[in-house]
């Protein structure tokens, strides 16, 4: 026997519709992904440039039998490149945190900067101080060497969990996996495989093939920036649709 009345159902539907509208408006105001994705996209483009310099300038082919010593500037650049995601990534998280703090204060809603600042400071400490006297130190170094985005990825996932932000978590996984694969030369190797299978390996310059990972990094950066712009436009669209209810 169904004892639910049509009035109950209409009221239940109205409540669900209203709560969804309020939820969307609050999410738009407090969980905009535009700035986090924009910052992450710019950082990824920056990493593509750093990787380009490392691959094509510092480690360029001098020719058969040729060698030279690295300059001090090249060694310093190499150190910056090694800690890029620890230092520049941490700065990026702090910038997002600062922006959210100002926005939350001005708007009167949102969790503020706490999680972002904690993530940025944690990342910065890991990159600068590390865990030199701990057995974990070696492991941290190895993980950073193999997957330089591992720690900023973990920080972003923790922030996403704290903010209950599924979209940020999904973007973080996409960013972390693709950038790590590019760092390991995955896309260059797959392009090489593809050229071998299609019999085109000899007709394409190896120097061009090895740029595949850099191209993927640049594309990821541009996709993140594009997603940021799209999120901002979507937010403006919602703002126009969700007008405050007057009772």
């Amino acid at each position: 026997m169904n004892d639910t009345q049509p009035d109950d159902v209409a009221a239940a539907k109205a409540v669900l519709a209203r709560t969804e509208q309020l939820r969307r408006a609050a999410r738009r105001d407090t969980k905009g992904l535009a700035v986090p994705l924009l910052v992450l996209g710019v950082l990824t483009l920056g990493y593509a440039v750093v990787s380009y310099v490392e691959l094509n300038v510092i480690a360029s082919d001098l020719g058969p039998g040729q060698s030279r010593a690295a300059t001090d500037a090249e060694l310093q650049f190499g150190q910056i490149a090694d800690t890029y995601w620890g230092l520049v990534g941490a700065a990026g998280l702090l910038v997002v945190g600062l922006w959210l703090a100002v926005r939350s204060r001005r708007l009167g809603a949102g969790a503020g900067a706490g999680a972002w600042v904690a993530g940025g400071v944690g990342l910065l400490l890991l990159a600068t101080v590390g865990l030199p006297f701990s057995p974990l130190g070696v492991m941290v170094g190895m993980v950073g060497f193999m997957a330089p985005t591992a720690f900023i990825g973990i920080a972003l996932l923790l922030i996403a969990g704290r903010r209950r932000d599924r979209r940020l978590a999904v973007w973080t996984v996409v960013f972390g996996v693709v950038v790590t694969l590019a760092h390991l030369g995955f896309f260059t190797n797959r392009l090489g495989d593809l050229l071998r299978v299609t019999g085109l390996a000899d007709s394409v310059d190896v120097h061009v093939v090895v740029q595949a990972d850099l191209v993927v990094l640049a594309v990821v950066g541009l996709v993140l920036i594009g997603a940021a712009v799209r999120d901002r436009r979507a937010g403006e669209g919602t703002r126009r649709v969700d007008e405050p209810e007057v009772s």
């Binding site: 026997m1 169904n2 004892d3 639910t4 049509p6 009035d7 109950d8 159902v9 009221a11 239940a12 539907k13 409540v15 669900l16 209203r18 709560t19 309020l22 939820r23 408006a25 609050a26 999410r27 105001d29 407090t30 969980k31 204060r105 708007l107 009167g108 809603a109 949102g110 969790a111 503020g112 903010r163 405050p244 209810e245 007057v246 009772s247």
Partner: protein
């Protein structure tokens, strides 16, 4: 949506297709949470984590007195935490949702969805 004869907390019984008695979904609705403005406050806070008095007032279309009374009820039930402070020289009241508030909101939404499911499932 609470049946007229039912007082809060009454377990309204219904018999389902298999003949087994189960409580009517409306009996799971909590009067403190179910009220339209209070439900709105909890929904906004669950998404925003914290909001100030002005933001809640404008987003929910409530008056100062109305919002203040609803916040008192929610705070009295331990569903929100109200913190009064200052922004410069102006008073500013921040409201955050508690764990109990999140739980109560989830229960409420589940009860409403169950009501719909029961109707649409025949």
């Amino acid at each position: 949506m609470t049946p007229p004869d039912a007082s809060p907390g009454d377990q309204v019984q219904a018999t389902n297709a298999s003949g087994r008695d189960e409580p009517h979904p409306t009996s799971r609705l909590d009067d403190v949470v179910h009220q339209k403005a209070r439900l709105g406050i909890l929904v906004v806070l669950a998404e925003a984590e914290r909001a100030d008095f002005t933001y809640l007032k404008s987003n929910l279309g409530l008056t100062d007195g109305n919002l203040g009374r609803h916040l008192e009820v929610l705070a009295g039930s331990g569903l929100v935490h109200v913190e009064k402070g200052y922004a410069g020289r102006r008073p500013r009241t921040w409201v955050t949702i508690t764990r109990a508030g999140r739980h109560a909101l989830a229960e409420e939404m589940a009860a409403i969805r169950e009501l719909l499911r029961r109707f649409e499932g025949g």
